[in-house]
Amino acid sequence: MTEDVRIHPDSPVKESSVSTEPEPQAGPDLGGGSLARLTAENATAERDQPEQTGHTITLENVDAYYGDARAVKGVNLEYAANRVTAMIGPSGCGKSTLVRCINRMHEEIPGARCEGRVLLDDNDLYDAGVDVTAVRRAIGMVFQKPNPFPTMSIHDNVAAGLRLTSKRSDDVGELVEASLRGAGLWDEVKDRLETPGIGLSGGQQQRLCIARAIANEPEVLLMDEPCSALDPIATLKIEELIHELKQRYTIVIVTHNMQQAARVSDTTAFMLMGELVEHADTEKIFTNPDDPRTEEYVTGKFG
């Protein structure tokens, strides 16, 4: 598995060039062993010029409605670049809804709307002049249930973002390979790229969906309970993958599983009944939260 993945056309994947590329240093807890080695070798280069590949998402006073029902209430939150932020909270607390406001998928539901500001760096994604398809290209999403396109091969699933947005790529094959490597799936599927995507196991399908999302070269990756339909081994693989992906992306992951939040995230946001209760470093949330409700939730007193 190759950890270093370059999917922008100006920096194509070349295994030989991996060690010469400065790697962004995101946090102290880098997951994969080979990645840690890789970053150690380039430690000097990183400190000299920290490459900022991720982008910040800022929520200002976000309200989300289903018809008249207010599912998210005045949330202010900042997702730091190249960090994994976990969203936790009981069912129906609005965490998925909030995440779907970030890539403007919430408004696809009839009667649903979102108010407030969502900023990608300094750009308001809800500005009147903003093309919603551009927002969704910039902010990739992985869903709860693996949803590869059933009529498409593995290759076409990964390349679907190109076809669906009329974007051109100089080398689709290279992009597909880079994306599949990035999702840790390349070695398992490289000999059967033309077989249907739905022929894969659930965990492989979910990684295929991650490959499909990153083939679009997004800035931010939203994951809405990406492991809830997977077994523990497939879950572990996805979690390892998240550690690698945050080198490139700002990641928001919704999860019901508090152990998972503790394992994968740098910061954790706890939501309750549409409100953001607390957002802090993951360690703090799970050991010494400020709000008593957070403590009750993470210690299993309710929810």
Partner: protein, 294 residues
Amino acid sequence: MSTTPSSVALEPTGGRRRQTDRVMRVVLLVLTLVALVPLVLVIVKLLGSGLKALSWKFFTTDPTGSFLGDPGGIKSAILGTLEIIAVASAFSIPIGIGVALYLVEYGKAGRFASVVRYFVDVLTGVPSIVFGLFVYAALVVSKVGGSGFAGWKGALAVALLMLPVVTRSAEVVLLLVPDDLREAALALGAPRWKVVWRVVLPTAKPGLITGSLLAIARGAGETAPLLFTAAIVQGTTYNLNARMNSLPAQIFADVGQAQDRLVTRAWGAALTLVTMILILNIVARLYSRRSRLS
């Protein structure tokens, strides 16, 4: 039908319940057999009376119109039916699928969509002769296009009949396409029309084909809309603006005749028509097996 008494105090199935079960099974089986009787009789009679009419000449000659001599075959009727069905399908299938796409992808639960859905349901129940009557009154009487009866007018009547059938079946199939897939495509930044074109339609394709073929089969067997729109003639024509023969119309014309040979020709034409529809149904079934939608 044995029961294993459990060590826990679970009572064994009572004798009366077992008896009722047995009686009901027999009753249902008998009802099923009763329903099969006419179907089997139709097939036996069709084969018995129709097979002897079939010959190479039967398919390759037009009806002669001669009552005493050789009555000729059903070439014009077969070709007429194919032409009418082709034209009717060319209109009703794209429009029907288009309406279904509108209802499922855009109209959804809106008021206009609900009204359209209701009218489609009403149209499905309209007797076929009403469509024929409508086309007769609107196009035949006033000789639109220069002639009264015309193949394209018959095709239009059949298309009107097929339209709600295509729409309804396409809507059901499109609704079966999981919303997950639409969301996945939208989340990749696809505009809605591309979601429909690249994801929804390919996923629904086998089901759409099945539904369309069944609608064709339905339209191919209709007599009433053709009798006073395309009329009944003897000769083969490829001119859509001329009177055009068709299998149902040919059967209708022949079966009332006093000549045995003409009645036999009606049976031969009926067998041909049923075989055509059977083939359509088999192809439709093969396509529906390809579907990945449950």
